[in-house]
Subunit: 488 residues, 2 copies
């Protein structure tokens, strides 16, 4: 079986969809629907936007992938959605940024982070890390865990024992951004720019997918097509590129927009889910792709038939013991084959209260959303039935006086780490990674021997909005624009 | 009367003292004590470091000028003092950075800023302002008050009515940094970099003055010498510079370190406290000096024989009504001649709890420290006896349940705005000011026709630590170093 088109988009996530949407709907487009094709490996569109509207037993829907508009001051996708009326901040958005109520693995009662003057300590620690690499970006990288120790050693006299125990571990909330354990997080690139409040998307991020699909004929989107091989530089039935799928489908085209995740791009071509390039990608590009990693942020949602936690709170952080055995040492990913739960609960846990009185609530019970990070994500996603056993000790701390912790009536987890087409959550930087090269190479900010008609898009190619919906969306639009300017 | 020296330092504040200290104590100095002279206009040394150890009726001492080590991550003066044992953070310093307890002029009960998701709104507002000028520093400046209105208009839908009323005015805490009313604060330069936690200096900042004076022979410091005229470029008894004082004293020298405050430098030469330069300073330098202003941060300390506020709190912010008459309109500085208190209390008030349980406490009563800004500073400093009448309505909100507000047994205020040699607090940027020129001109980062043996120091010349002790201190050291390298 073979198909032909002027432009082929590989990947039906938000970057691929925004690319094909622009290709067909730009006011000056010379392309007709039959000129473009999109190949999606899986059985749904949206990629890491995935709104689950069916699993809930209490009438809710959940975004198992992206669920916040980040960087709301500068987020052009958000601004566009507000402008065209598809997203209304007051009705469809929620700010979930009260200071988290903080607990600690070793304590039953909440930690008064403000009373401990903790917020300024955390700000100072973040600034310390920034300074450490600011003067000389060439300084040897180290883990977030290690640089935190350095700070504590250096400012020993400015920290109380209580701050060391109950405030410093709060920095591990970064694990819930990156999906990595703090012993793996690059200190050099750990700082997260604040570009405006995050807006929790209450209507489900699939609205954005649906909005794009309205203007893209369904027959241009071919599902279940895992791309196995991309050939470039010879004549393929009059085209410059040939794309071969696992199904046997061959697509010839003149322009390719490659949006598969970095986690797939970085696989060896011999891998079951890897892609073989003929000729091989230049080694500078290969190296750039390998110079970042994929985090494994996951989601675990517990539904309960009653609410036994504080509905005033937006979120909770449960800090790990500093000295206790750590999930890192007793990595559940290494032992999940025998389905045992790690002996001691000691990872950092970020919990969002999906039943806060900030949300419009049914009276049908409540839900807690846990953001999981590596290695817990693999454990939970591979064994959702063990999730409650794993989290119960930590979550029990959240119970309000007089309320009894009840077992959940439903457990819903994401599956990103187990999904062979996704393989994690999004780009995240491990120790000694370098985020600049992949951008420079894939966005051609440096000379490249990859033919110019091979375009790359996706969150991993974005400088602004890296890892975010708007970064992915805009990267797709940019590549579409380039093709529109060059294909006339 | 006349004196002669190789180097003359004008001004005995911390920058002048650090300059003369370095000149005499640098290990390679070619200068003997008789080679240097320092002229101080007032009857004490330290300038805007002024520790009052005598006024308290409850056994305390107060820094009426500088009282925090700012930027503690990068503050080299702090680091040096820790290293040489003159300052011990644990014993001599206090962190006063719990989130302030917030009140509002229109409400009796405290405002729950976190409950209103206020901290992230304030962060977003600050980021909005930063962004506004980041792309194009040439954008027309406006007041902090005006840009806040712009933000509120633009993000109308992302703000609740409560946030607009009770969170947005919190941004006026900046008035207590700058000593200016928010209708005067430059939006363009309103952002304050966080470079580590501020450390309240419990031992009194005069320790730093005393430390320097130990190594400077007293006879090299001439008090009560207000400089009136500086002549440069001819031969003055074999020297290159002649300095004339109001007392009639004439000093000839080869190098001049000019450390008088910007508020004095910027006076016309005809002014009673102005300085006449012969020849005149180049117009580029004159313009640069006029392109910044002096804030009028003041301090007002109330001592009480009992404590009726919450000793758990480090500080309080009492927010002004948005719509009520504002101190700006009924400027007390304009009416203080008849000693009336402004009709309605409506300025922003920052209060530090000098009796917090964070401090080592005598049992002799307690004290509250108010940071005042323009125009209230002039009012309070000129009429300390009216201070309680002015602040009582606001401060009464701080009383804990069951405690009665009592009148103070003592009122101590700073006098900076009334002191003709100081004329305010420190450099602050009003709308359309530009902080770059004064640095470039006075630190000779651009070609200057001022002879190189005329050096400028003081907080107003510092890029890092502008307005701070460490900025002033280091600027004095730098000029001393330059002279040491050039006078051999």
């Amino acid at each position: 079986m073979s198909r032909d088109a002027r432009v082929c988009v590989v990947g039906g996530g938000i970057s691929g969809l925004s690319a094909i949407h622009r290709l067909l709907n730009d006011e000056h487009t010379p392309l007709a629907p039959e000129d473009v094709l999109l190949l999606e490996a899986q059985d749904y569109l949206g990629g890491r936007i995935r709104t689950d509207r069916t699993s809930s037993k209490i009438g809710k829907s959940y975004d198992l992938g992206a669920s916040w508009f980040h960087d709301s001051l500068t987020n052009t996708v958000l601004k566009q959605c507000i402008k065209d009326g598809t997203f209304n901040v007051k009705d469809d958005g929620r700010f979930t940024d009260k200071n988290a109520k903080v607990f600690h693995n070793d304590e039953e009662k909440a930690i008064d982070l403000n009373g401990l003057r903790g917020y300024s300590v955390i700000s100072e620690l973040e600034k310390y890390i920034e300074h450490y690499y600011f003067e000389d970006i060439g300084m040897e990288d180290m883990s977030l865990q290690k640089i935190v120790s350095k700070y504590v050693d250096e400012f020993e006299d400015s920290l109380t024992e209580e701050q060391k125990k109950y405030v410093i571990p709060y920095i591990r909330h970064m694990e819930s951004w990156m999906g990595l354990h703090w012993s793996d997080i690059s200190a050099k690139y750990s700082s997260v720019d604040f570009e405006g409040r995050d807006i929790f998307n209450l209507k489900g991020f699939d609205f954005l997918v649906k909005k794009l699909l309205k203007d893209v004929p369904e027959e241009r989107l071919i599902m279940h097509q895992q791309v196995k091989r991309i050939k470039v530089g010879e004549n393929y039935s009059g085209r410059r590129v040939a794309v071969e799928c696992a199904s046997g489908l061959k697509v010839t085209c003149d322009y390719l927009v490659m949006t598969v995740p970095q986690s797939v791009l970085s696989l060896p071509s011999s891998h079951d889910y890897g892609i073989e390039w003929t000729p091989s990608l230049p080694s500078a590009v290969e190296t750039a792709i390998q110079s970042v990693h994929f985090g494994k942020l996951g989601k675990c949602i517990f539904e309960f038939d009653n609410i036994w936690w504080d509905v005033e709170e937006d979120s909770f952080e449960i800090l790990a013991s500093a000295n206790g055995p750590d999930t890192k040492q007793i990595s559940p990913s290494e032992q999940h084959h025998d389905n045992t739960v790690p002996e001691v609960f000691s990872s950092h846990t970020t919990v969002y209260n999906l039943s806060s009185n900030n949300f419009t609530e049914s009276n049908k019970g409540g839900a807690l959303l846990i953001l999981t990070s590596e290695p817990v994500t693999q454990y939970i996603e591979s064994s959702p039935h063990l999730a409650w056993q794993y989290y119960k000790p930590a979550l029990s701390k959240l119970s309000t006086p007089g309320a009894s912790v009840t077992d959940p009536i439903n457990v819903i987890t994401s599956n990103w780490s187990q999904n062979p087409y996704i393989r994690g959550s999004y780009t995240a930087l491990r120790v000694r990674d370098d985020p600049r090269e992949i951008y420079l190479q894939l966005k051609r900010e440096v000379p490249s021997s990859v033919p110019s008609y091979i375009r790359f898009a996706g969150e991993h190619t974005a400088l602004d909005g890296n890892g975010c919906v708007h970064g992915a969306f805009c990267s797709g639009q940019e590549e579409a624009s380039w093709i529109l300017q060059n294909c006339k």
